[in-house]
């Protein structure tokens, strides 16, 4: 497949991963992972400087989501078509409320999927089991998530996404056993 210079630039931009703030990612999710009480967990509050820096990562992520619309048919060297406009909107509609819920968490890496979806991935280091990937994919009609440790052969969990608060509940449910990791 041969790409034009403009397409190369667009692709290089959209495949740029999220920000290198993985200690903060772990910290941002830790309240979700460690709280076992029924009371709402305390949400870490970033400093003003951190908040500005993190907000920029979300602005960049939203831009990358819309840049996915520039991909031409066959972009994966097989038969992948364009990324759905509804999928892009669904992804943005999830991402911004999610940022409001977990303000100290930097934006995820954004990527297209060959079945027309918008993918997001947070990768965080754990002490005991290596890297944990939280991957979300938004399609025109629905959203899916999966959690897995990079070194495992099996998925830890997978499911559907309804909205940002429900997703956080699922994160808490599935990852609490690994809070100490």
């Amino acid at each position: 497949m041969v790409m034009t210079t403009a397409e190369k630039s667009a692709f290089a931009n959209l495949v740029t991963p999220g920000q290198p703030l993985f200690d903060r990612i772990r910290a941002a999710f830790s309240h979700v992972m460690t709280s076992r009480s029924s009371a709402p967990p305390a949400v870490p509050v970033p400093t003003p400087e951190e908040a500005i820096s993190i907000a920029k990562t979300y602005a960049q992520a939203v831009e990358q989501i819309y840049e996915l619309g520039n991909l031409k048919p066959g972009w994966n060297s097989y038969k992948a078509g364009p990324i759905g406009e509804k999928a892009q909107k669904r992804a943005v509609d999830f991402l911004l409320p999610f940022h409001a819920l977990v303000p100290s968490l930097p934006a995820p890496a954004i990527f297209p999927t060959s079945d027309g979806g918008v993918g997001m991935r947070w990768r965080m280091a754990t002490k005991a089991r290596g890297y944990l990937d939280l991957e979300l994919i938004f399609f025109d009609g629905h959203g899916e998530y999966s959690f897995d440790f990079a070194d495992d052969n099996d998925l830890l969990a997978e499911g559907r996404i309804s909205d940002a608060p429900s997703f956080l509940t699922d994160v808490r449910k599935h990852l609490s056993p690994y809070a100490a990791a």
């Binding site: 495949v15 993985f22 038969k79 027309g116 990768r123 052969n153």
Partner: protein
């Protein structure tokens, strides 16, 4: 093509042999840290008309070569998958997977094209981590207009 390799009937279900799949050198399909493909490398395509393909494209190794599969895709990686191992693991995971011979005229490896049906999340993960053997590593350098960036945690 390998001169003496038997050619299956079109649509035949394969239960033995080796498959190739090329994988782009982008972070959504290739993990530079581990030197292996990601789950995303084994998702089906939704084509330009919005039709979701029933399977994921592979190429029957006995009817092609790594060079033919990678032809025109500099920098891409290539993995091989043993069909018997794939079907055995699918059975263990209670996933319904089938390998069907589906030759085409697309590209140098088209006559060896196969579809693997039933690759959902658990099998995508198993392929990425366990089943797929790396034949050619994807290049971290820009190729075919696509660059694999550094891993998230290192960038």
């Amino acid at each position: 093509l390998t001169a003496d390799a038997p050619i299956p009937a079109v649509g035949a279900r394969l239960t033995a042999g080796t498959l190739y799949r090329r994988v782009s050198n982008t972070h959504m399909q290739w993990d530079l840290a581990s030197g292996r493909p990601t789950k995303g490398a084994f998702r089906p395509d939704k084509d330009r008309y919005g039709q979701l393909e029933e399977g994921v494209s592979f190429f029957l190794a006995s009817l092609t070569t790594p060079e033919a599969v990678l032809n025109g895709h500099d920098g891409y990686g290539l993995v091989s998958v043993d069909i018997t191992e794939l079907l055995a693991l699918a059975k263990v995971k209670k996933e319904t997977v089938a390998v069907k011979f589906d030759p085409s005229t697309d590209g140098a490896a088209g006559p060896a094209h196969c579809y693997v049906e039933g690759l959902y999340g658990p099998m995508q993960k198993a392929l990425a981590k366990q089943l797929a053997k790396v034949v050619v590593s994807a290049s971290p350098e820009q190729a075919s207009g696509v660059k694999a960036p550094e891993q998230d945690e290192d960038s």
